[in-house]
Amino acid sequence: MKSALIKDILREIWKSKNRFISIMAIVAIGTGFFAGIKAARPGMVETAQIYYSDYNLADLFIKGTMGFTQEDLELSLAANDALNARLGYSADLFFANKRSGANEIAKVISFDPNGREGYLNMPVLKDGRMPRNKNECVVDHLIGRGYAIGSTISLYLDGKEDIEKILSVFDFTIVGLVSSPEYVAFGRGRSNIGNGNVSAFMFICEEAFAYEAHTDLYVSFATSSNLNFYDALYKDYMKTQTAAFEAIGQERSPLRLKEIKDEAQIEINDAKKDLQDGYDEYYDGKDTFDKEISIAQAKISTARYELNEQVKLLAGLPATLAEAEEAYAQGLLAYQEGLAAFEEGIAEFEEGLAAYQEGKDQFEVGLATYNEGLAEYLENLVVYNQGLAVFEEEKAAALAALAGPQAIVAELEKVSAMIGEIQKLHLSPSTEQAELVETLASQIDYAVLSIALEMSTGPSVSIDILQTAIISAINGDAASLGMLGSTALMLEPSRQSIMGEIDAGMAALAAAQSELDTGKALLDEAKSQLDEGKKELDGSAAQLVETEQQLQEAWSAIQDAEEELVSGKEELDAAPEQLELLRKTIAEAPAMVAEAQKQIDEGQKKLDEERAKGLKTLAEALEKLEDGRIEIADAIKELEDLKEPKWYVMERKSSPGYSDFIDDTDKIDKVATVFPVFFILIAALVCSTTMARMVEEQRGQLGTLKTMGYTNREILSKYVAYALAASLSGCAIGLSIGYAVLPRVIFDAYKIMYIYPDLAQRVHWDYIAYCTAVSAIVTVSSACSVCLKELDSEPASLLRPKAPTIGSKIMLEKITPLWKRLGFLQKVTARNIFRYKKRIAMSVVGIAGSCALILAAYGLRHSINSIVERQYKDIFVYDVIGIFDDGLSYEQLEGLKKELIGISGMEEHMLARYAKFDVLKNDGAREDHFIIVPDEPEFFSTFIRLHERQSKQPVALSDEGVVITEKLSRILGAKEGSYITVFEDDIQTRVKVIGIVENYVMNYVYFTPSGYSQAFGKPAAYNAFYAKYSGERDRFSEEVLKIEDILALSFTASSGAQFSDMVASLSIIVGVIIAASGALSLVVLYNLATINISERIREIATIKVLGFTDWEVSSYINRENMASCFIGIVVGVLAGIPFERFIVETIEVNIVMFAPDLNAMSFVMAISLTMLFTLIVNIILHFTLMNVPMSESLKSVE
């Protein structure tokens, strides 16, 4: 290609980017939608394929009526093409729904924690860990609240089969949550226990099973791992393998039977022995029992006797109490008296003691005084004696001393007297006288000498004087005689003094003598006193000793009394307590007695019970033993009757959801074929128009290039390149977005119904190539065809402007009355529509196409969404259906009915048979649907409204035949009056269809009870009831489930909610279609409108120059768009109705009938959305038109 041409192409693209982009967008939407939806199915099945192979989903799942042995496993492994095989256990058991407490069924499957790589049907751990010992389990991650990791789940059976034969452990700790490749849908399959509806699966370790033989055998094949599971190849391959394994099963059957018989024989022998042991044990037990009972009875009798004694004793107690009380009172009194006496005694004693003390003190004082006195006396005696001695001495001395003076005195007196005689003589002087005076004077001299001698110590002077005087006086001298007189007188005092002295001395001596005498007397008195005191003291001492002795005696008496009192007090103090005790004892006595009586009675009762129980146990044991005997007998018989075991070989498709998933992906594939083809058609149409327009616009250029000598191919290459560029880039965008988004959205939607890992998406180069090729071919070929047509003409004619489309009168104008009524611009529009027939037709097709798509999509959504409302509000008007055990007797059913009536809030109810049964399809296959046999068909419309869909004409049940649901009639191709073949419990019968009723979810065949018994030759076994109730659901549910036979309840409201969840996935796909349709119609409209503008740009510019307002210009052009939009809508709606029907029928599944009628809302939405898109395009165009340059009007016609 010339570089100028490449430049030309690039410039062309840039210049006409709107056109380029719109082609690109249409291609993108068309291919993206097609490829995206088309890729959904492969992506989904590949995800499933990877999932199955990652977790080693077995190709065959075999169940043996008598289990499998290692030998079976080895045979399987040795089978042709076998890749892997393993044995396992499984069982259907009950567990309690944590919320309602209802029995739910769990599929309990074994899991080998030591399983090797490639472990078949490996559970998919969602949370937690796999079990490691027999007390652990992992449960279905959908099991629901209440069964979190760490909680426990208990399994049980209600007596039908001994659960101990199945499991060795019944309570399991949940350690993990799992899903399983076996369970890809939310259904968990059916079971033959309970209501038959398995609600969860769980895995436990193999060792937790107690089965004698493995129940399950899983096999996978080498070839199958290389096949796509959804391919026919796989199905065919599996058919042969199934047959092969059925053959192995038949081969193994007699061998296995023998094995079992041998084992059983051993067991029977053991059982027989056990039975004998049992009997022995029974008799031993009976003896022990009797013995123990009699001992116990004796014990009770003793107790009773003892009680009686006690009672008697207790009866005497009140009297004792009275006595004691009195004694106490008296004692108290005596004590008080004693106490007073004691106190008195104490006082007396103390007084005595005080007196004694006083006496003692006095005695002491007396003694002391006496002793003192004695001492004093002795002292005084000594003093006296001394004094006496002194006195004697002194007396002697004094007497001695007095002798001088006395002599003096006597001398003196003689002197005085001789002086006196001298003096007298003197007076009568004589010679006699003078001889006398001489004698006298000698005498006086002598006296005086003696005095002087005496008086050496005395009055010596006077004596001297006297002596002198006397000597003088003797000498006679009268004067000396006067002097002698005076001296005599003078001697008088001395004599007086000496006389005094002597008197004094004498007196003193006398005094001393008297003193001494007094002292002596005193002493003597004292002595006598002392002696008296002594005597007295001795008396009082004796008395004191006596008193002390008395006091001591009194003290010991007091102490004795005190002791007595204290002990008396103690006794008294203790007495009230004792009295209280006694009183209490008396008060409590009756209760105690009663209690004792009661205990004895209870003991008796217990004993009686024990006895009864023991007897019962014994009886039961005996019965059991008898049963055992019968059982053994039966077992022997059974063993004899034992049929050959059978292998049930099941393919993957028997797992719930497995086939449904493939079917559902087929549905998507159909949608992916129907919708996108439509899309691609529209896209192709629009692309070719656009390309054609482009070539036409450039015919001048074409001519020029041609005249310049370019070959057709060279000229063509530009347009081919342009078309290729647009379509390839469109493909790239569309495919990348479509692939990235749509399969994921769809798969996510389907994950509402299935449990698979995230989408594993592979790039599908085939689809990419396919889409790219188709879009490229469409755009390029349309470009080529237009181009070649133009190039066929002479260059000259190409250079000439193409004659403008000729204006002409249209048909409408001939209808003058109508034409006249049209406004000028309306007329113009009408003419233009007919003038640009081709383009308008294209617009109409585009708009009609998207309108039809939207209508179909909305219709589909309505068809799906309205199911819930119709099925669960209009048809199923019952509130709840309850399932109970099959095979209840008539009496039991009557009882059940009564119990149901008793349920509070129960408004109406009716028994029915409700079960799955098979219907024969035209292709010979059996398909399971539901059979409903209401007890009272004439009132059944209270619960389910049977009516014809379109006419709403009620259909009555009749004994003549069956009423079937609409979808079933379509599956079977049955009409009113035709016959269908049904199976119930393998009884095959043909029944006449007498009515076809509206129904959407599931397929039902309705019988009357007598119709049923005619058909199957037995009465219908009721196993369900329909009910209407008022009040709270939970309370109602709880109350109903308390009835023993009720297995499960299913509420219409929750079924409806469940179903709407399920169909929500389809709504998403519908949403995708709506969005894509909208996008497509927008692009188509815009594209066509742009072409319209480009074709008529001159015209538009001219009217703008003429002064048309923007609005007028827009309406001038858009009026045509609106018209084509209206026509398109009409066409689209007309085409959409059958289209929707087609889509609905394509997508529908067997168990669901989509509402086939279109609702007004779908029309409203389709029409209004299409109009909205037109409006949006018109608004965009309005601005495009505003920007059309008026100078275009001045250009020459090309």
Binding site: T805, I806, G807, V1105, G1107, T1109, S1193, S1196
Partner: protein, 233 residues
């Protein structure tokens, strides 16, 4: 003040990186009722002037007064009203709606103008009353141009703008068209601005504005315009 006054009008087109000056300070004026010619070679800027005057293009600067109103200052809406009521446009290639009859093409214009003349009357004025129901494709070029002129006149505009109205026609037809325009406008006292590259017809105009290189080269006022019949080219 003159009826039309162009003052220092500049206009530059930007074509990518290339600037094209289409009006380089154009100034002129035209009196009411005048038959004015803008003459010049191709690319002299005639059409730009006409577009600006007709309100279908704008200028960068200057002013364009028409009957006292500045066209350059008008907003989009005012421009539409201006075109609608004040301007009649005759195109070189007639620009008739191919899907409308002759009469309808005139009606297309009169529909939007309240003071419009009677379409049929106008059509008969251009001598095509008998062809009123014919579609453009059924008319000759001259006839189409007559319809175009009738369409322009039927709006009863203040100003009639003609873009080479004879450019696509043969001599005789062109001449007759020119005559029709000339006479009709004289008769209706319309102000006419006609652009042409044919300088031979200058004598028929009241005012001749010669343009060259986007500038006004000369303005000549012809005080004695002659009839179309009197000129040959």
């Amino acid at each position: 003040m003159m009826f039309v006054e162009f003052k220092d009008v500049y206009k530059t087109y930007h074509m990518g990186e290339i600037k094209i000056t289409a009006s380089d300070g154009v100034s002129f004026s035209i009196g009411e009722g005048e038959f004015a010619l803008i003459v010049g070679a191709s690319g002299a800027g005639k059409t730009t002037v006409l577009n600006i005057l007709g309100g279908i293009d704008t200028a960068d600067s200057g002013s364009v007064l028409v009957d006292g109103k500045d066209v350059l200052k008008m907003n989009r809406k005012e421009l539409i009203q201006y075109r609608r009521h004040d301007i009649g446009f005759v195109f070189q290639f007639y620009n008739l709606m191919p899907n409308l009859t002759a009469l309808e093409n005139i009606e297309l214009a009169t529909q939007v103008t309240p003071k419009a003349l009677d379409p049929l009357q106008t059509l008969s004025n251009v001598g095509l009353a008998d062809r009123m129901s014919n579609f453009p494709s059924q008319l000759s070029g001259g006839e189409q141009q007559r319809v175009s002129i009738a369409r322009a006149l039927a709006k009863n505009p203040k100003l009639l703008l003609c873009d080479e109205p004879t450019g696509a026609l043969d001599y005789n037809t062109g001449k007759s068209i020119l005559q029709l325009l000339h006479e009709t406008c004289r008769q209706m006292k319309k102000t006419v601005v006609l652009i042409t590259h044919n300088s031979m017809i200058k004598p028929i105009a009241d005012r001749i504005i010669t343009m060259k290189n986007s500038k006004v080269e000369e303005i000549y006022i012809n005080s004695n315009p002659v009839s179309v019949n009197d000129v040959e080219w």
